[in-house]
């Protein structure tokens, strides 16, 4: 299509065309991505080679202090009077050595089988064998530790090289005091980030790695340490989750995924447009009590969800207020199956989500609406545009552009929106294989897999699938919405 043809298209047509183009270009893009990846790997390898070569030259050109540091970390620094650094390096090495000798090597060597010694009973006494859980967890930890050690070792040698060069050219080295002072200045980011990084590492990265690995094992109810061992099974769990058949969860997975996407779509866009609509109404010139309206709506944000949602879920129950009053007034003879019929349950959840979702959007939209230059509307009015036209040509494009990134994060957030589903319906009504309910999202299903079914292997696979789904959506949107890429384009 020539550029001129493209410009003639209307907005939706353009969108469609962009979407089509996205998929047309997808193979090329993937190819490009792979090429980039290959290049990056190449660069890494080259860097690694250079680094190793540098190790040799440093050793060859180094004095005894530098050479000693190859064996005893930090000895060079200490010998040159940089006690602080030297002691830290030395301590790190000591801790590492002790850890490896006492724990690390044992766990690492069992990592390929996850343990072979079974737990058994000798009369009344239980004799514990290998604990697969611990082997996997500490195995992963040890791998990380080894990587950190190699990196630190490399840094230690590099520092020796630099110190040697500095001394040779007649400079003075930094003292421990200088090092400490730099933590408040040139190295301030290290001070700020040390603790948070450690926290994220121990409580996010390590567990995620562990769970990804669990997806390739048979860790479940029948293989629970310390009584039982579990072991590697390759891709079997992925097959169980994705293929259809009597023993596998393929059909359930597809249904749950479908509902997750439908839910996220409605929860995001319905709230978005309704919230914007409410914001426009409240902000209209001549409407009084603006603050009162806003405050009333914001109540649902202020009150903790477990109070409001639990209460509302009871209101809609079969013996809840709504059903009993409708029956009292003889509008219905049977209670409406808000939570027991799949269709009704899904509808009710989306409806109640509007109740707690609109206020957020109203607040956001209010802030943005006030930023739209008033003269845009003025000139539109002079040109004879009516309210709908102004909305379609000014307000909506502006809003969509500015909130593009928000829509993406909101969609992502709704796919993982545990609270609303769990507090309202707990995924009920049940009835799908794999102990899933009709209103279960992937995340609530994952939760049930973990907590009530202790089917950790499948839970891990579900988690990975959520990641894949989110990654795909994020990539697609990132390529389609300009403002996600660069928010300063719009004028």
């Amino acid at each position: 299509m020539v550029d001129l043809d493209y410009l003639k298209l209307s907005k939706p047509q353009k969108m469609l065309h962009d979407l089509g183009q996205f998929f047309v270009r997808l193979p090329g893009r993937i190819g490009g991505g792979l090429k980039g990846l290959a290049l990056a790997v190449g660069r890494c390898l080259k860097g690694l080679g250079l680094s190793i070569a540098d190790l040799f030259t440093t050793f060859k050109n180094g004095d005894w202090k530098t050479r000693l540091s190859y064996l005893v970390m930090g000895s060079g620094s200490m010998a040159r009077g940089q006690w602080g650094r030297g002691i830290l390096f030395f301590l790190f090495q000591t801790v590492f050595n002790l850890y490896m000798v006492n724990f690390g090597i044992g766990y690492l060597s069992k990592l390929n089988t996850l343990g072979v010694v079974e737990t058994y009973k000798e009369g009344r006494k239980t004799v514990y064998g290998d604990n697969s859980f611990l082997i996997l967890l500490y195995g992963v930890l040890t791998l990380f530790f080894v990587a950190a050690f190699i990196y630190t070792w490399r840094v230690n040698i590099k520092q020796n090289k630099i110190s040697q060069q500095l001394l040779a050219s007649g400079h003075k080295l930094k003292s421990t005091k200088d090092d400490l002072a730099s933590l408040a200045d040139s190295q301030f980011h290290k001070t700020l980030l040390a603790l948070p990084t450690l926290g994220v590492f121990v409580f996010t990265i390590l567990p995620i790695f562990f769970m990804i690995l669990v997806a390739f094992t048979n860790f479940d109810y029948n293989h629970q340490p310390p009584a039982k061992l579990f072991t590697w099974v390759g891709l079997e769990n992925f097959r169980t989750l994705l293929s259809s058949g009597t023993a596998s969860y393929g059909d359930t997975f597809r249904q749950v995924l479908f509902w997750t996407l439908v839910w996220a779509f409605f929860a995001t866009f319905l709230n978005y447009f309704l919230g914007m609509f409410v914001a426009i109404m409240i902000n209209k010139k001549g409407i009084k009590l603006k603050k009162v309206w806003r405050t009333i709506l914001v109540m649902t944000i202020a009150i903790p969800q477990f109070v409001s949602l639990l209460y509302v879920s009871k209101m809609f129950a079969a013996d809840g207020l709504i059903n009993t009053y409708l029956m009292k007034w003889h509008w219905i003879s049977q209670p409406i199956p808000f939570w027991t019929d799949p269709g009704w349950a899904r509808f009710t959840i989306i409806l109640i989500n509007i109740w707690i979702g609109i206020p957020y959007l109203m607040l956001i939209a209010t802030g943005i609406l006030m930023n739209i230059p008033a003269d845009l509307y003025e000139s539109a009015r002079i040109d004879g545009a009516n309210a709908m036209q102004m909305y379609g040509k000014i307000t909506l494009p502006y809003m969509l552009f500015v909130t593009g990134p928000y829509l993406l994060t909101s969609f992502t957030g709704n796919i993982n929106n545990f609270n609303v589903i769990f507090l309202l319906s707990q995924g009920k009504p049940m009835g799908l294989t794999g102990n899933a309910g009709h209103t279960d999202l992937l995340i609530t299903w994952l939760y049930r897999m973990t907590v009530s079914d202790t089917n950790y292997k499948i839970a891990a696979v579900i988690g990975i699938m959520v990641f894949v789904v989110l990654a795909v959506i994020n990539l697609v949107v990132y390529n389609l919405i300009p403002s996600v890429k660069n928010e300063e384009d719009f004028q």
Binding site: F188, H189, F203, A302, P304, S308, F422, L446
Partner: protein, 435 residues
Amino acid sequence: MADNNVKLRSKKGHERRVNGTIYTVLTVMSIVWLVPFVFLVLQSFRSYKLEKGGMVDYLIPKTFSLDNYAFLFEDSNFFSWCGKAILLAVAVALAVTLLTHLVGRALDRADASRSRATLTLGAAMALCYVALAVVAGAVHGQALGQRLVPALLGLVLFVAAGVIFARIYLKQDDKLLRSIPGYVAEDKHEGAKKVAALAAEFWALALLCQCIVAPMEASQYIRWYGNTLTIALFTAAIQTVIVLSVSYALSRLRFKGRKLIMNTVLVLGLFPGFLTMITLYFLLKQMGLTQAGAVPGLILIYCASSGMGYYISKGFFDTIPKSLDESARIDGATRFQVFLKIIMPLAKPIVIYTVLMAFMAPWGDYVFASYVAFGHQEGYNVAVGLYNWVNTNDFQNYFTRFCAGGVLVAVPITALFMALQKYYVEGVTGGAVKG
């Protein structure tokens, strides 16, 4: 001309009709929004003794009673404990004021140096700490020996903390000190008195905490409430420090690996949070922080990964002009000083937003809280406890008690939120636009 008039009038009429519709829609919405909360409050007044505590087919209770609320406080010496705490607070405040005066005047007369002032003060504090601890022990009918270890620890910790803290603040502005009741600032030996005042205040607080935390026999609900409050307060403090550090570093400092960190956080954020639940549970269990010890465990979990939620405050820091940092740097300030003295005072809105969010989040957390506490009531937070009242078969007829408990949670939180609403809106809109 006449034609124009007609047009104008019809336009006015049109406007009025539009506004009328809007008012109608808004009124209907307001009713829908408020009705569940009105119902909640109404049902919390239906007695579970006289009527029925479960689901009934009418809304307005036949008689309004406070039975549900009374139940929440049953089996607890909450009110007598409150009375004792207040008495103790008054006594301590009086004692501290007196002590500060005496020590301050003595130091004044002796024309003491800073180090001697500190020494004298430390000794005086230690003495009085012991004296008051004995008194407090007597009030609670406990021998001091039973609580010797925590008492000694408290002594050392808070004498030290008080003195150190006071010395730091000596050099700074007086505002903080002036707000302290025992403080008298009038003469040339302000310094010594400030030390006295501040340190004594610290120690008094420490003592008060020690007496208050331990001996209350709480009802279930009060324990859950206390747990949640503790978690929320600690989480708010720690999480704010972490989030601000991370967002400041990523927004205003340039260093190797910055992009790498941001991309890693982006990728990590795509994994569902509950995926790692069993691993976290195991890690906490290794540290002994599950079940009955769930409160510190939950604080740890909430804070550990909170650095990943830096987006909104980073967006805020991005908007503060870079030239401020640069001019301060030229004047010789270190990056730490720039952070503390230049950027932080400007970042008040985002600090309040972060504190508010971190404080409110633990009140609503059911998942981790229930998993970590796992059947041990003393480790529950309100969400877990009340959820069980509504959704477990053992608790038939607990519905109205759930309502009452919910009201007592919702009222203070809502009040806090409404008071700080301005900052919330600022954070949300800023965050949404920047993504």
